[in-house]
């Protein structure tokens, strides 16, 4: 490869990365600024202090919101993995009359946008008395057509001979599921898990509807609250809150970029 071309590509990569990552870098920078720096539209803080972080944790119950987000995201991740892997196991291995029809029914849910059903879902959740509880934030998301589809694709890549061999060994269906299929598909389970965690952590509209007090409110709604309480005067504090909210998911992305790319493209495109 000639050097001119390489240099050009590196230049484009650097410029693109800088533009794309600028808002995040700048948010981090502002989170260390005092009011004067913000007012002067400085790019970097004139002095370095954690005051904004101290303030943000005292002005809203940020730790409590973080805990809520962790609980909700973890529960949804576990729920989705359980429900999706059981369903995908049937769709990949156990034939019965009407299975194809059921699979189409599952895929049909992909055509129904969550926002189109949220009014009725809100009324249901209200009727069940789930408002301001973890149940409202988690249970409606346990079944994911995308998850079932993704896992089914991976389960189907397991050689059927392996399944038959396990049957001849005398393993029950559940034992095959638990001791053969799941370990064999560990990577795709991890992919789906990361994806579920990310999307749940970042959910906004539904938590806004079903949390009317602090008890189970998630960090995303905390950010909205912070922005309305602190805005105009204390942008540094708001940005400190933003940094705290994005840190867990950014770390997750940094660790798992390769894994996600492989796992998701296989599921989405095959």
């Amino acid at each position: 490869m000639n050097t001119g071309r390489t240099t050009l590509i590196y230049a484009l990569l650097f410029i693109s990365a800088l533009i794309l990552f600028f808002p995040i870098l700048y948010a981090v920078s502002v989170s260390f600024m005092d009011g004067k720096d913000v007012f002067n539209r400085a790019l970097l803080p004139s002095s370095f202090s954690f005051d904004n972080y101290k303030k943000v944790f005292s002005s809203v119950p940020l730790l409590h919101y973080l805990k809520n987000s962790f609980v909700v995201s973890s529960l949804v991740t576990i729920g989705q993995l359980t429900v999706a892997s059981l369903a995908a196991y049937v769709f990949a291995f156990i034939p019965f009359k009407g299975r194809d029809f059921l699979f189409i029914v599952v895929l049909a849910t992909l055509m129904i946008p969550w926002e189109a059903t949220m009014i009725s879902n809100f009324l249901t959740v209200q009727h069940l008395g789930w408002v301001n509880s973890y149940r409202a934030l988690t249970i409606p998301f346990f079944a994911s057509a995308f998850g079932i589809f993704l896992l089914r694709q991976h389960f189907k890549s397991i050689p059927y001979e392996l399944y038959e061999a396990a049957q001849i060994e005398g393993l029950t269906r559940f034992q095959i599921f638990y001791r053969v299929v799941l370990p064999y598909s560990r990577m795709s389970l991890v992919t789906l898990g990361i994806y579920s965690f990310l999307t749940t952590w970042n959910m906004y509209l539904w938590p806004l509807l079903v949390t009317t007090n602090d008890s189970v409110r998630t960090i995303q709604i905390g950010l909205k609250q912070l922005q309305t309480v602190e805005v105009a005067t204390e942008w540094g504090v708001v940005m400190a809150g933003v940094v705290v909210a994005i840190l867990p998911t950014l770390i997750l992305i940094f660790i798992s970029q390769k894994q996600l790319q492989k796992g998701l493209t296989q599921g989405a495109l095959k």
């Binding site: 990569l13 429900v83 992909l110 946008p113 906004y204 998701l264 989405a268």
Partner: protein
């Protein structure tokens, strides 16, 4: 020896399954599928039917159907300037965001598909906005767009561009929300397109290079045709996502100024949860459903076509 065989034959159970054994597969399947079936029924299918049902009614403040009005809610919407504005904003928003997201992500994926030292770092940076929540992204951009402390106008000033009234002007407000949305969505699209690029067999490029084909010839004759299913997939997904946008509107503009950014989901939210008009809100939701359905069917049509070609 013969005697033994006879005995065995006599005692062998006839190999005929009874009903209980025959339905073993079915019973296990139903058991394993039941969580998914129950959840989909309660939280997807039932509410979809209920939404359609409610769209034919006037409701009380608690969302109970009170008076059957037929298509009145729809006719009311089609007649109202506010709804027309909301629809126009929704489609204009899709026009602003969808092509930009696909093109920028494609460009970044092409760059990041080069085999260079340290490319993993760039891939991670380009994917990073996938980890950004809509709330966090919108708050950051709210600050960047800010008329007095926002740094965006300052940076543009270095390029000789006059200050832009980002969120204050009704035309620019939609652009501002579009910019935020484009930025947020690049991570995911980039990741999927890069995956698609890496699935293209290297042999094709090898033989093209041996034939002396240049970069752009390879791009237009090999990469784009083979990547078209991926690009089309991302196009549709991005389109559907743009119809579902809510958080950026809620934090940046609250639908304003002058309803210029009142995208369809924000309009549903306001109708239902601010004004308690569950009937018209449901009618809007049904319209959203058909918009998404149309796009999904388009996707299936394309997949079918692809199968025919192969």
């Amino acid at each position: 020896m013969n005697e033994v065989m006879e005995k065995i034959e006599r005692y062998q159970v006839p190999k005929k399954e009874n009903l209980w054994q025959k339905t073993a597969n079915l019973r296990t399947s139903i058991l394993y599928l039941s969580p998914a079936i129950v959840l989909f029924s309660v939280f997807v299918f039932y509410p979809m039917f209920k939404t359609v049902y409610l769209s034919f009614f006037l409701t009380d403040a608690r969302g109970n159907a009170a008076l059957f009005v037929g298509l009145e809610n729809y006719l009311y919407l089609f007649d109202s300037t506010s709804f027309k504005k909301s629809m126009k904003a929704t489609w204009l928003f899709a026009l602003y965001t969808v092509p930009s997201i696909v093109l920028i992500s494609f460009f970044l994926a092409l760059l990041a598909n080069e085999k260079l030292r340290g490319i993993g770092f760039f891939r991670t940076i380009f994917t990073s906005t996938m980890g950004m929540s809509v709330a966090a992204s919108a708050v950051i951009w709210l600050f960047l767009f800010h008329p007095t402390v926002g740094v965006l106008n300052t940076l543009l000033g270095y390029l000789g561009i006059r200050p832009i009234p980002w969120l204050l002007d009704s035309k620019w407000a939609l652009v501002s929300i579009a910019i935020t949305t484009i930025w947020m969505n690049i991570g995911f699209s980039f990741l999927i397109i890069l995956g698609g690029l890496q699935n293209i067999s290297q042999d094709l490029y090898e033989s093209a290079r041996i034939d002396g084909a240049g970069y752009f010839y390879q791009l237009f004759r090999i990469t784009i045709p083979l990547l078209s299913p991926t690009l089309f997939f991302i196009l549709i997904i991005t389109f559907i996502n743009s119809f579902q946008s809510f958080g950026q509107v809620d934090i940046l503009t609250k639908g304003g100024p002058a309803e210029a950014t009142n995208l369809i989901v924000y309009a549903i939210y306001q109708d239902a949860f601010i004004n308690y008009q569950f009937g018209t809100a449901s009618a809007r939701a049904v319209i959203l459903f058909f918009m998404v359905l149309g796009l999904t069917l388009l996707q299936f049509k394309f997949l079918e076509k692809k199968v025919h070609y192969q």
